[in-house]
Amino acid sequence: MTVAADPLARWRARAARRGVAVLAATLVLSCLVLADILTGPSGLSLAEIWQLVLAGPQGPDRAGASILFQIRLPQTAMALIVGACLGLAGLLMQTILANPLASPFTLGFSAAAGFGAALAILFGSALALPVPAHFLTPICAFLATLAATALVWLIGRMKGTQPEILVLAGIAVMFFFQSLLSLLQFMASPEVLQQIVFWLFGSLLKANWTTVQISGAILALCLPFIARDVWALTALRLGEANAESLGLDVAALRRRAFLITAALTAAAVSFTGTIGFVGLIAPHVARSLVGEDHRLALPVAAVMGALILTSASVVGKLLSSGAAIPVGIITAVAGIPMLLAVILRHERG
């Protein structure tokens, strides 16, 4: 019996270690949040930041309060929300499509958002729609993301929403929207082209409390639906045939997860622009830390997404003391070696 008890004790110890990993990741994220708030061209020290926090948004130091409450805090909050959205969306995608390279970026959702944004930047002023000008771009990006999701789903449905068909449809949709985006860039004047390119960089500079609230509300709305399906998603890791035989309606689960992924991706990229690799890398890091139990893997993917984006924000500000390098560029550059590591790790099995 002692021989039999050892593996069970090890299983319990591993479950406890996973809990510690979640806490450690959250702690590292908290430190990075603090670093992000402290970093910036105005050079505010920790003591100054603390004084500004105590004084509040209406404190005597108007310039300092404005920097902290109107620039740094919204940007940090946006990094947390966008990172969490992309991490969750990436893990959902990889689970329902049984593909380690699936992510909102590789399935064309981000390309569609870019196209929507470019469309708004190029033709928005001419249309004279009853929408505030600064909201037209994110609204168009949001709608284009949802349209791309619908397109991928409808193509996949023709073949019974099989994972490989959905992945191929996603790749086709990505190239389709990238081509349309190139066409719009070709048509644009140099000034408009510059605006489009800046949007595509993916930057937290566009963040303000309104966009934080909108993205945060979409994330909060999605969380209960994700929580409801944690066991079903874990069961799907055993393979579709096994999951079905366990009484799981796999098609319905895929439909729900696809819809949530679309909402999370749209919430993330509409207000910040295209941010690649976070949705691809964060799920892999999460699984390597806590395994495939989605009760832990999903929250850790969210934390890792937030951690990657907050790190990128800090690095972007440290590398360029004047104007911060957009996080989209940092994640793209850092994401390539990470992607190679994922591929090599997957090859080794």
Partner: protein
């Protein structure tokens, strides 16, 4: 009493089985045998509610929901790094919340110990052999505690010892839980030894199930499997069926 009544079944657009109806008692283990492609897996999938055709299953007149029917598919390859214990816990996924109660974990641990799987409880599924994976998936289905258990060739990857122990566990489960087990098997000797009744699926139809002695005869085996059976008896009286190619059986054995 379980009543299973189904329409004609098809696979990939081709007709496989004509309409069927049969009953099972609580505590019964029924074997489904037949040559390759006869429709055994199609029949089990349809009863499990996994095919386009609707096959109503009733227990004592009341409709049995999909959650009360357990099914282990023939293709069982698992490419997940989930641990064995986590995998078994998934058998009751509908009843689990974000926190798994300690008594459920203890129950899963006890089942693993009972099935001789406790020593690999913490191993990832990807680190197991095909036979070990199959044993874990059988454990998962037993942990699910369905009223009707459908097992599609559950011994296909198992060694001789584990073939006997797996079928014995399934029969014990049926008896103890008042459930019914339908198991598709290729080995007619195992089917005769462990199953209370046998259902032959062949030539597009299901025969009426009956006791192994009545169903597994030269008249049913020769035309359906195209082999010449030799019937032997063990010391305990259990039937052993040795297949020979038609016309090539050793004269001394006749």
């Amino acid at each position: 009493m379980f009543q299973i009544t189904g329409p004609a079944l098809s696979r990939g657009g081709a007709a496989v089985l004509s309409p069927f109806a049969f009953a099972l008692s609580r505590g019964e283990m029924m074997g489904v045998v037949g040559p390759n492609g006869a429709g055994k897996s199609t029949l089990l999938r349809a009863i499990a509610g996994l095919s386009a055709e609707h096959v109503p299953v009733t227990l004592d007149g009341a409709r049995l929901g999909r959650a009360a029917i357990g099914h282990l598919p023939q293709a069982f390859s698992v490419h997940s790094a989930l641990s064995v214990l986590d995998c078994v816990l998934l058998g009751r996924r509908e009843r689990l919340g974000l926190r798994v109660p300690p008594d459920i974990i203890a129950e899963a641990e006890a089942l693993l110990a009972q099935l001789g799987l406790a020593r690999i409880a913490d191993r990832p599924m990807t680190a197991l052999s095909g036979g070990q994976q199959q044993r874990v998936l059988i454990a998962q289905r037993l942990f699910r505690q369905p009223a009707l258990m459908l097992m599609d060739e559950p011994t296909s990857a198992l060694d001789l010892h584990h073939q006997l122990s797996a079928l014995s566990e399934l029969r014990t489960y049926a008896r103890a839980a008042g459930a019914a087990v339908i198991v598709a098997l290729h080995d007619l000797t195992l089917a005769a030894r462990f199953c209370d009744r046998i259902l032959i699926v062949a030539h597009g139809g299901c025969a009426q199930p009956d006791s192994p002695d009545k169903v597994l005869t030269r008249q049913t085996i020769e035309p359906n499997w195209t082999v010449e059976p030799e019937f032997l008896r063990c010391r305990d009286g259990a039937m052993v069926i040795v297949p020979h190619s038609l016309g090539q059986r050793h004269p001394a054995a006749k």
